[in-house]
Amino acid sequence: MPEYGPFEMIAYTGSRVLEDESIVFVGTGLPIIAAMHAQLTHAPSLNMIFEAGSVAAILEQGMPLSVGDTRAFRKACFAKGLCGAFELTQRGYADYAFIGGAQVDMFGNICSTYEGGTYSKPRVRFPGSGGAGAMAANCEKTIAIMALEARRFVPKVEFITSIGFGDGSPEYREKAGVMGSGPYRVITNQALFGFDEKTRRMTLLEVLPGKTAADIQELVSFELIISPDLKDMREPSEEDLALLRNVCDPDGYFLKRKVAK
């Protein structure tokens, strides 16, 4: 197999998860790259929503560096503002939310508001929800990209910025007044997670070839459900890597970053 970096594996796995004939609401960075790769391979009829208001752009000027980048509006079919993008989503026209975060718990609740301290006096204040909270609420399925570290896969997040399954009770999301069905996949460079239908708990679906379920559990601070059908993650081919490196993110803004130790 060809050599690949951790972010290339995440982008490739993200691409695999996205189905054709659907609409993905993308966050900045790897989600855009994953969606571009999917469009170029198995999902030519996949379209992207950018929260600044662009729907179904043709990214011929290259990867937008942010979701408000003017390049995200190139040859779009529909270009309005945030209200336009989120109302279409709230109405039910966005299949996937593709977001990131700093912490996630076993029910897929995500924190991206602060780390340490309190809400009023945070040790590290992050930018805030941005679109993520609304995407996790109202896109049909939520896909999250996270770094696989014990301090990020936590028993309790410090603050729920993006709703998952709450406490895991079947009626939590309905009571919350949100529309989407909730967490669907969590993608890391060493494992792909889904959620158990019955308990709504995070479930290990796939591991990086060479890794075991125990290896992954060690990096997660809550007890995982291990799929009885545990598979190896598919690795990107030479062609996939060529697309990712030469077409999707040729300047390596996101794919060439180093993983923090």
Partner: protein
């Protein structure tokens, strides 16, 4: 449905009970004009088509006062009203409430001014969804001000803030949204969960947001303030229509004949605009679709000065930057004159000629 769905009841996150109590003990207040006050401001305006052109200096002196709610247009690094922010910093404004969905340089510029001299510029509180630079990094001065409890934050999603401006623009006191519920924003922000009288299911209400002054930068407008926007509308039409007063900068003034020929292209009608200034590069270092791309090195350089202050507590370089580029300039044109033509040309080229209709 139960009144409360959120994680307080369910104890999902580690948000402390003290933080939750703050919301419960607080009576709701609009952080700016109430819907009735905003309505009065609209009714009081002369509605004729009048030439609104002025200078940024005069517009800021007339409308930006201590204690106001300042609604900031654009989105992160796109079509951000930087020229107006520079003038606000120059003239000074204290105890500001900021309202926006997502922004980068505008709020960092105000935050930096507050750090340099809090008697000249200060932010009291912020109703927001997101404050950062996206690919460039998190905002050092937000981190500093929030970490030291120097500003009060009220967190919503990007849709939440946009919907709040939309409610303001619609002249309604609140709007139901399908987000915030079940997240900790439900427990800390000023919205509230109700049972829908029709479906009998829970739905989250957020209050209208009416800035005292909305500031927007648009690609094109006629002299009356009828504005055309290309690329992302962001939430500029809603902010302009919700605000008691709107200051608008535009890349260029276009003939009213063009506006009247394609009225569907007008995103902000003249009647919502109080002051208009033709200010090319008014969104710099942000991007304006059809005109210029964003200046990544400029963002990086300003951010690194801010981050150095955050790490060391030494204000010297920050103060130097403000002295040179804001207080040392009479106008935004003077500031732009410090940027080489080669850079301007490159940013124009990097836009790659996004198609616009003027």
């Amino acid at each position: 449905m139960t009144e409360k769905a959120a994680s307080y009841v369910k104890k999902v996150s580690s948000l402390s009970i003290d933080e939750i109590k703050k919301k419960e003990e607080r009576t709701f207040q609009y952080w700016g004009p109430t819907p009735d006050e905003a309505r009065k401001a609209a009714v009081a305006k002369k509605k004729g088509l009048h030439d609104k052109r002025t200078t940024i200096k005069e517009a800021v002196a007339k409308y930006v006062k201590d204690g106001i709610n300042l609604g900031i247009g654009g989105f992160v690094n796109t079509r951000v009203p930087v020229a107006i922010i520079h003038e606000i910093v120059r003239q000074g404004a204290r105890d500001l409430t900021l309202s926006f969905q997502s922004n980068s340089i505008c709020c960092e510029l105000l935050a930096g001014a507050m750090i340099v001299n809090p008697n000249h510029v200060s932010i009291k509180r912020v109703e927001l969804a997101w404050w950062g630079y996206e690919v460039i990094g998190i905002a050092p001065l937000l981190r500093y001000l929030a970490g030291n409890s120097m500003i009060q934050l009220d967190d919503y999603t990007n849709y939440g803030m946009s919907a709040r401006f939309k409610a303001g623009a619609m002249g309604i006191p609140f709007i139901p949204t399908r987000d915030h519920g079940g997240s900790d924003m439900e427990l800390v922000n000023r919205g509230r969960m109700i049972e829908c009288p029709f479906t009998k299911k829970n739905v989250y209400l957020v209050s209208a947001c009416h800035p005292d002054v909305g500031i927007v930068h648009v690609p094109a407008a006629d002299k009356y303030g009828n504005a055309r926007i290309f690329g992302a509308l962001c939430t500029c039409p809603e902010i302009a229509q919700a605000a008691s007063h709107t200051i608008m900068t535009t890349e260029q003034i276009i003939p009213t004949e063009s506006i009247r020929q394609y009225p569907n292209l007008t995103e902000i009608p003249w009647v919502c605009v109080d002051a208009l200034i033709e200010q090319p590069f008014g969104g710099y270092p942000g991007a304006v679709y059809g005109y210029y791309w964003f200046d990544m090195p400029e963002f990086l350089s300003f951010r690194s000065i801010c981050d150095e202050f955050r790490k060391t507590g030494n204000k010297d370089k920050l103060k130097e930057w403000y002295d040179k580029y804001i207080f040392g300039c009479e106008t935004f044109d003077d500031f732009m004159a410090t940027r080489p033509y080669s850079k301007i040309k490159q940013l124009r080229q990097m836009d790659q000629g996004q198609p616009i209709i003027v």
